[in-house]
Amino acid sequence: MIGYIARRVVQAVLVVFVVTVVVFILLHQLPGGVRSMLGKTATPQQVAQLTQQLGLDKPIPVQYGKWLGGFLQGNMGYSITQNQSVASLIAERLPKTLVLTGLSLAIAVLLAIVLGLLQAVWRNKAVDYVMTFVAFVFYATPTFFMGLILVLLFAVKWHLFPAQAPQATSIGGLFAAGSGLVLPVATLVLVSVALFSRYVRASAVDELTEDYARTARAKGAGETRVLFGHVLRNVLIPVVTLLGLSLPWVFSGALVVESVFNYPGMGLLFWQAAVQHDYPILLGVTVIISVATVIGSVLADITYAVLDPRVRYSS
């Protein structure tokens, strides 16, 4: 078990290292570089001065080494457009994104388990087909379109919820203006329920036809008891993995939701940085979000191995 965890962690560190290298090289292709930061009226002297100040005149490996050294000490440089360090910007924004994604994921998974189990029980009946079709359509719906539909209906037409996310600086403030959270969270829930419920259904259909389920039925257990007493816990195992693997997808969705509802999270920060070519923010956020993704998948793998002993011995 410890060997398995150690292998996964080493792999994860390697992946994060690759991410930093890839992103670092990519960002050095930014057009205009320093000139685009200073604007068209900058003199060549000013450009040269800032280039030197930012260390951009050194070879890329040297710059990378310097950046990595700083990063490991929590120093990710300064934003070009906002007079703040990247680390403090991320510290301010990351918790809000985690609130949005965490809340949405929790609701989505619960809903998906209920819907998926119902579909498995009613498999190949009309209800199942309709639900599968709806899930298919929701899955194909771009997150921003889903968000816009909710805004059109619930904010513009019926005036039930605000179309703006709360702009509070603290987490408590977010919840104090809770009605503003409803539409962003609902958007993310709707698009992810479709993804999760398909897996829960498939997994539950498999489990319901397993030998142990048949044995339970033969011993006189009712269908409800088979479902909740026996099948449910086995269905949950793949859901754990799915949760871990869906993290990059959820973060992507969160970025779009944040831009639709002007939710002050990390995605909005990243989006603005991309539009304004704010290179230190792009670099810092990409690495942090990738680390979060990788940690998520490692945790999912470990949980999976704990829950299902077959995994750790086979790999």
Partner: protein, 308 residues
């Protein structure tokens, strides 16, 4: 190079191995694939819809000719049903129906081109990586893992920040994101196929490595590649729409379906539902259609595998 052991080789069940299949058999197999696909009504309806939508986008402007280049601020946000504007006009005075046509054109063109490019690159990288194995394979696959660890939309914005958006650069950006999954899938196929007898036979007859990959590994992974390419088109159209929605797509007056939603969002409080629903529903319909076709093809090819 020593031919690796064959732990994954399939047990012989008396059937003729695929490598000995003669040309007519191969032809018949493709007919069987088409046959199974044709029985799938959902896939057929989807294909018909896509043909109609493509006609609408590419032939439509000849029938319903509108100015999609010059703004006309005297006819801004007209209601659907206004004279000459069945779907109304948008915030720049463009006819919305005509806009839907040129937006659809861009989405289809870029989506299909990006999917093809991604499939080509992904299939070649995956096939060579899996075939050669060893250090090169390890390095390539760790790079793929690393890029896959960056959430799609983040990678997308990162790439989009670097280039000036034109149709060509958008194709390249979307393909750069999409090829990763194809490469992984085809690598898996290549790992399995390189242990087959006919590959060993081809090598013993002096087939060079590139030739073996291109003549044996890639053609025999074709079903996986084709099915995946269909799903890639759906994903590429979604990715492009997201990029345009976030304002990093084509510059006006060009647009795509996602860009139209970005424009429409500015007027959402005026209740201009016709700027949101048509392009949005079009995206969903196209993506659902490509997914159904992909499902149909997967089923068709799997049947082929069973009947082998």
């Amino acid at each position: 190079m020593i031919v690796p052991e064959r732990p994954g080789a399939e047990p012989h069940d008396g059937a003729v191995p695929e490598s000995y299949a003669s040309a007519p058999q191969r032809g018949r197999r493709w007919i069987a694939v088409v046959g199974v696909f044709a029985q799938n009504r959902l896939a057929l309806v989807s294909a018909a819809f896509l043909v109609l939508f493509a006609l609408f986008c590419f032939i439509g402007p000849l029938v319903h000719s509108t100015d999609q280049v010059h703004t006309n601020l005297s006819i801004v946000n007209l209601q659907p049903g206004s004279p000459g504007h069945v779907l109304g006009t948008d915030g720049q005075g463009y006819d919305q129906l005509g806009r839907l046509m040129i937006g659809g054109q861009t989405s289809l063109e870029v989506g299909v081109a990006a999917a093809l490019l991604a499939t080509l690159v992904g299939a070649l990288v995956g096939a060579f990586s899996g075939f050669f194995g060893g250090v090169a394979d390890g390095v390539i696959m760790r790079c793929v893992d690393g890029m896959l660890a960056i959430p799609t939309v983040f990678l997308l914005l990162l790439l989009a920040a670097i280039v000036t958006p034109t149709k060509t650069t958008l194709v390249v950006i979307v393909a750069l994101i999409s090829w990763l999954v194809t490469a992984r899938l085809v690598r898996g196929e290549a790992l399995m196929l390189r242990t087959r007898d006919y590959v060993a036979a081809a090598r013993s007859m002096g087939s060079t490595s590139p030739r073996t990959v291109l003549r044996h590994i890639v053609p025999n992974s074709l079903s996986v590649i084709v099915v995946n390419a269909t799903f890639q088109v759906a994903d590429a159209i979604l990715v492009l729409a997201t990029l345009s929605y976030l304002g990093l797509g084509l510059a006006p007056p060009q647009t795509d379906l996602g860009g139209m939603l970005n424009d429409g969002m500015n007027y959402v409080y005026n209740g201009t539902w016709w700027l949101i629903w048509p392009p949005g529903v079009a995206i969903v319909a196209i993506v659902v259609a490509f997914n159904f076709i992909g499902d149909g093809m997967r089923d068709a090819f799997e049947v082929r595998l069973q009947r082998r």
